[in-house]
């Protein structure tokens, strides 16, 4: 479904990302794992063209994404940010409705979809729909961020440290709930994290990165059983 070929990106004279290639099949969850500054977020942003690669291409269902207008490309890919990036001047309902409205859905459909998602994510229309982001707890904000990304039912979901800003207890709970959603199972997900436990809990495959390059890619079991080198062993604390 998504194929990344030889991606490279340079900021000034820093090679943020070099020769990244991988393929993600439909319904798969690929976790980009690594320390801060290893290039995982840069890689993610090149997939929805928030950054344009200096080298290499990204193919979506065989089409070079460079030929798709960025706005259209992104509407087909849900995007969840670490610090939620919720629109502070929109209510919860309005935040969730952003992408459906960009796609000119009918009002009733937008509302029904928002209400359904809120319910799935443990929020209620009556209580939360008309609140503003700053009135919510961190966990609730992150739920709204998830709902916003899922609202237009995009086939692909890009997640950048989606649970990173939460306290450990809330993080585990939301991650748990998230992994039980039917959306989670159906969608092709590329997610960035530095948390090994989280990566292993959610991944179909893990892509471990360091200094802008892929160190090892495989299922969690493969990484655990056959770590490619000392770095992998150390990172996974084996």
């Amino acid at each position: 479904m998504i194929e990344v070929r030889n991606l490279g990106k340079t900021f000034g004279n820093v090679h943020a990302v070099q020769q990244i290639s991988f393929t993600v099949a439909e319904g798969e969850n690929l976790i980009l794992l690594g320390t801060s500054g290893c290039g995982k977020t840069t890689t993610l942003k090149m997939i929805n063209r928030l950054l344009d690669p200096d080298e290499g291409t990204v193919l979506l269902n065989g089409t070079d994404t460079a030929t798709i207008p960025p706005a259209r490309l992104r509407r087909g890919m849900g995007y969840v940010l670490q610090h939620t990036g919720l629109f502070p001047h929109y209510t919860v309902a309005e935040n969730i409705a952003v992408v459906p409205r960009l796609q000119h859905w009918k009002k009733e459909d937008v509302r029904a979809r928002a209400a359904a998602l809120m319910q799935k994510l443990g929020l209620t229309w009556q209580e939360h729909a008309h609140m503003y982001p700053h009135q919510l707890s961190g966990g609730q904000q992150q739920r709204v961020g998830l709902a916003r990304a899922l609202a237009a039912d995009p086939p692909v979901l890009l997640m950048d440290e989606p649970f990173g800003a939460l306290d450990p207890i809330t993080r585990n709970r939301i991650r748990q709930e998230f992994s039980e959603l039917e959306e989670f199972r159906k969608k092709t997900i590329i997610m960035v994290t530095h948390d090994v436990q989280e990566a292993f809990a959610l991944a179909t495959r893990v892509c471990l990165m360091d200094k802008g390059r892929i160190v090892q890619m495989g299922t969690p079991e493969e990484l655990q059983q056959r770590p490619a080198n000392e770095f992998v062993r150390a990172f996974l604390k084996l």
Binding site: Y79, G85, H89, V98
Partner: protein, 515 residues
């Protein structure tokens, strides 16, 4: 207090009209500043390299003194509302551009990234995220601009654009506190009102509604303005002072039955406007250097409504007693300067660009009155002056005479705005004397009953004797001997136009302008 309300009541029509014009000028200029400033602010937020240039330019515009900016507008746009609106627009620009720029830059980058990540196009990010989130800052800028403009718009009265400044400047010129307040209070209230309304807007964030309202009002007013600025017959430009005086437009209406289209304009720009044929008739002073420079003619006052304005030092009695030689020194100038000589001296300063000091020294040398300064250690005499060339020249002459003929030193406070300011400075012992005109003393300062004026104005001597006696009695101030010239009010036209229309007296003018 009651008198003030009576004044308001008697002027209510004019007050309403001036207030409306004032709102008009403010809102149109702010609306244009929004229409151009907000996009400009957005542009420089997108291209930071332009920011320095644009903000620098807008900043420089705001440092130009308002009067100077209005003055620059005349050669470009003439007089009236258009140049005033352009000047006000330039003032409003900086706060609006800067706050738009600051507001957009202040939007959380994560939120902007989220907006792009959701699939918003550049315009959608701007209109749905960046602008709404920067709206409080943006409206704060509009608020600042509006309040500034309510204030600056009072100066629009200088270039015939109307507004509450007409009352304020008229009041200052005519020594009429009620008139000053009738302009100043509504202007202050307007500033407060706009500030309050925009403050509400800022809180409620009903910005679409607000902007639509401002735009709507501006368009409406603009339409009104265009509709009323009809070209027509001869147009007169009168100073705020002239407009409110019996020996001014009021007398012209009453005695000559003159009723012509007119605008209120500042003395400093009036001649220029006439020179550029924006005005056909102006109210000037008979010794003005510009009469010579612009080839103007004064219309004969064939029914004698303009009283004589003989210039003489108006001085505190105390200082004359304190320094006994002072009176005879100041009287050295008495009777020395005729109308045509004074016009010439003014011309030399205003158009040949000689400094008042040079003009004064040359004249005194010619007259054999100049002496180099002496010790200047016996005390200080403080001289005041109003802000126009003739007064500067006279003050220089008096300074040289005092320094050369006595052992006194001089400190001069030139540039005391108008009659009232000079006179208040004198009675409050801030200055010791200033050159005043008998007619001004009579009509502006003493304000005797109308029939007394009619009786007095026929003779130069009777006015002089009357003011001399009254000032002594009421204020303990003395009028020294007149300098000689009579700087009276006069109506003026360009020589060519006057000949074409065969207008030589004010009665002629009344005949052709009044149906």
């Amino acid at each position: 207090m009651n008198e003030f309300f009576e004044f308001l009541q008697s002027q209510s029509g004019k007050l309403a009209q001036q207030t409306l014009t004032h709102i008009n000028l403010t809102l149109i200029s702010v609306a244009i500043a929004i229409a151009l400033g907000v996009p400009l602010g957005i542009l420089i937020a997108r291209r930071p390299r332009l920011a320095g240039v644009v903000l620098g330019f807008a900043g420089v515009m705001q440092t130009i003194p308002s009067i100077a900016l209005l003055g620059f507008m005349i050669p470009l746009l003439g007089i009236g509302p258009q140049p005033a609106i352009v000047a006000l627009f330039l003032y409003a620009l900086l706060p609006i551009v800067r706050n738009t720029y600051t507001g957009i830059n202040g939007v959380d980058p994560t939120v902007k990234e989220a907006a792009r990540g959701m699939g918003m196009t550049g315009n959608q990010v701007l209109f749905r995220v960046e602008l709404p989130l920067s709206m409080p800052v943006l409206i704060a800028g509009i608020r600042t601009a509006t309040v500034i403009n309510v204030g600056v718009a009072t100066l629009a009265a200088y270039i015939a654009a109307g507004g509450l400044g007409e009352f304020i400047f008229g009041g200052i010129a005519l020594n009429n506190t009620h008139m000053i307040l009738a302009g100043a209070i509504p202007a202050a209230l307007l500033a407060l009102l706009f500030d309050f309304l925009l403050g509400r807007l800022q809180k409620r964030l009903k910005w679409r509604l607000g902007l639509a309202a401002v735009a709507g009002i501006a368009v409406l007013f603009l339409a009104m303005l265009l509709a009323t600025s009809s070209a027509g017959k001869l147009l007169a430009g009168f100073t705020p002072e002239f407009m409110g005086r019996m020996d001014g437009y009021l007398g012209l209406k009453k005695v000559y039955g003159l009723n012509m289209r007119n605008v209120v304009i500042n003395d400093a720009v009036m001649y220029q406007a006439m020179h550029e044929s924006k005005l056909d008739v102006i109210s000037g002073y008979s010794t003005d250097g510009r009469i010579k420079a612009f080839d103007l003619v004064t219309l004969e006052d064939d029914k004698t409504i303009f009283p004589p304005y003989y210039a003489a030092p108006l001085i505190r009695s105390g200082i004359l007693e304190q320094y006994p030689g002072l009176e005879s020194t100041l009287n050295l100038l008495a009777g020395r300067i005729s109308d045509s000589v004074m016009t010439l001296l003014n011309y030399q300063a205003d158009f040949l660009k000689k400094s008042p000091e040079n003009v004064a020294r040359n004249f005194l040398r010619q007259q054999g009155l100049y002496r180099p300064p002496r010790r200047g250690n016996k005390g200080v005499v403080r001289i005041g002056s109003k802000i126009f060339t003739e007064q500067y020249i006279l003050v220089e002459m008096y300074r040289m005479l005092i320094e050369g003929h006595t052992d006194l030193a001089v400190s001069s406070k030139t540039g005391l705005g108008g009659t009232k300011i000079c006179f208040d400075a004198l009675t409050n012992n801030q200055i010791d004397f200033y050159p005043e005109y008998t007619g001004t003393g009579l009509l502006v300062l003493l304000q005797p009953p109308a029939d007394a004026i009619t009786r007095l104005v026929q003779h130069k001597d009777s006015v002089y004797q009357y003011v001399q006696a009254q000032f002594m009695q009421q204020y303990n101030l003395r009028w020294l001997r007149p300098i000689g010239f009579n700087n009276a009010y006069a109506l003026m036209m360009q020589r060519k136009k006057a000949d074409e229309l065969h207008v030589h007296t004010i009665s002629d003018l009344a005949k052709i302008t009044t149906p």
